[in-house]
Symmetry: C2
Subunit: 321 residues, 2 copies
């Protein structure tokens, strides 16, 4: 199937929403649908489209993998509640960290998260509800990158641990598959999501695990989470496309109170981009860079060094893992 | 013994040179002295002071560890030859890389270099010449950092593999021990060294091994050497105190010709400092940062990501290992 992009210029958000609500409604009929909400613009828009189409025949879960940012699970559930959408918060921290234990290879890490998230947690929830319709926030860039071999191809049903013979009973609905991020933001705005969500910088599927080089442990996630809080506070008014903190596995020499202190390094990235296909580092004022380094080395225990990414995508990627 | 600093303001370079030449001459008498020249401002100044005092009774070696920058061993020998000083170039590449094999820990790496450089190579040369006087470029900051526990205390004779009972027969001469770097530059200028040397940015004892996180192999040194060439070309006119390239051990995701390319990261550091005690990152123009990243990812095979250090010393250090 050839998927045709609807560009931001071509998009009539109101009409798009009406069409997608109608499509979802007619596809699901009087069945049940489920979806997993991450709080990103894609899954939030899908949640509202599904809710408009199906009301409480859409069951939405927020799965807390332990890899989210500070306060994020509670904030997202509360934001959706304000829009009349009840989201169930699932604590899957132990399952996810157990799956990540001892893994340093990026592919293995992504695989472990995908497997524990989809098969062990979400797959179980899908089975419990008995829903046969799955709403997914797949976008046009995801498709493109899968085709190009940058992202791996996912068979979502296989990931959910659903047998091949059962698979024909299920249907995947991907209402945003023709849109890139900028168009999805328009849709999110049109369905009444707050600016906090429709302007939210992209955040990766594997969440903070995508920002930890090497093994992902609760302790290392806490470090990158604290650094992320500083980066988001300092850069949220920068107007940049995306900004992030990365915890390196390499240790570097530092000095504290006149003594050698062998410590951690955090890399900050801040991107100018429209759709994550290409990007360049934001030309942040040097005072901002100073403040980032000062705050991170002061507020995040163990960090003695902060760097700023100066490489464009390509050859860099937006995230590190 | 309390060592008293002579500050840049207090220094009368001509008088200092005359005094040190006289001191070296009266200490060595009609004996023989040896020293190892790295091409840095400290060891170059010591070489000239020793040469002025002793003529060809000073034997100077340049030990090529395989860890020097592009063309450096030949350049240094040639520069000194222009000043009438014959320096013997010793190829110790195999000895040094063998000692570094399989070592990732910074302390172990420094130890391996020190041991192979001093005991296995320079110690052998000292013994061959029969010289009992060793000229060393130790400066005031080295002493201070050793006292503070930032650098490790070295017993040079022990490092040379000389028995404790033999040690009393040897004498270490450290003419620069009361001076910091800025004062040493004045001395280097006063003894007639070219600007290329008296204004040369500091370069660490373990050379490029100090700029490789993880194992130091000929292949990894080649990568950081190539990156160093770019950094020095781009930043030599910046007026900065020191500028360097670091090869990380962490691998990061990149993208080349639309395909995922798991590659290397180079960190660039550029310092404003007067004596390396404290320092802050140079506020390089963003065009320069762009060009650094562009050139390094293009000219150094395997590199997909370049970062710029934004942390002050402290809590960072100037070098990484």
């Amino acid at each position: 199937m050839e998927i045709k992009e609807i560009t931001l210029g071509e998009l009539d958000a109101e009409r798009f929403v009406a069409e997608k609500v109608k499509e979802i409604s007619s596809t699901v009929g009087d069945g049940l649908a489920v979806n997993a909400l991450s709080g990103g613009v894609d899954s939030s828009a899908v949640t509202i489209l599904g809710h408009k189409a199906l009301g409480d025949r859409l069951k939405t879960y927020f799965i807390d993998t332990g890899l989210m940012r500070e306060g994020e699970p509670e904030n997202v559930v509360s934001l959706l509640k304000d829009l009349g959408v009840i989201v169930e918060l699932i604590d899957a921290k132990k399952t996810c960290f157990d799956a990540l234990k001892g893994r340093s290879d990026p592919e293995e890490k992504r695989e472990a998260i995908t497997r524990s998230f989809y098969r062990d947690v979400f797959g179980e929830l899908v089975r419990e509800t008995g829903a046969k319709y799955l709403l997914q926030g797949t976008n046009y860039t995801d498709i493109e990158e899968t085709v190009a071999g940058i992202k791996r191809q996912h068979n979502i049903l296989e990931q959910l641990g659903i047998d091949p013979e059962e698979m024909y009973g299920y249907k995947i609905i991907e209402p945003l598959v023709q849109l890139r991020k900028s168009a999805i933001r328009e849709v999110a705005k049109a369905v009444g999501l707050p600016q906090e969500i429709y302007n939210r910088p992209p955040f990766p599927g594997p969440a903070l695990a995508a920002r930890v080089i090497g093994e992902v442990t609760p302790k290392r996630v806490k470090i990158v989470r604290d650094a992320t809080t500083v980066v988001e506070e300092e850069l949220s008014r920068s107007g940049a496309f995306q900004y992030l903190a990365i915890l390196h596995e390499d240790k570097v020499t530092g000095v504290r109170e006149g003594k050698r202190d062998y410590g951690l390094q955090i890399e900050v990235r801040c991107w100018e981009s429209t759709d994550a296909k290409i990007g360049s580092p934001t030309r942040l004022p040097h005072d901002v860079l100073d403040r980032l380094a000062e705050r991170i080395t002061t507020e995040v225990p163990g960090v003695v060094s902060v760097t700023y990414n100066i490489t464009k995508k390509p050859p860099s990627t937006i995230e590190v893992v």
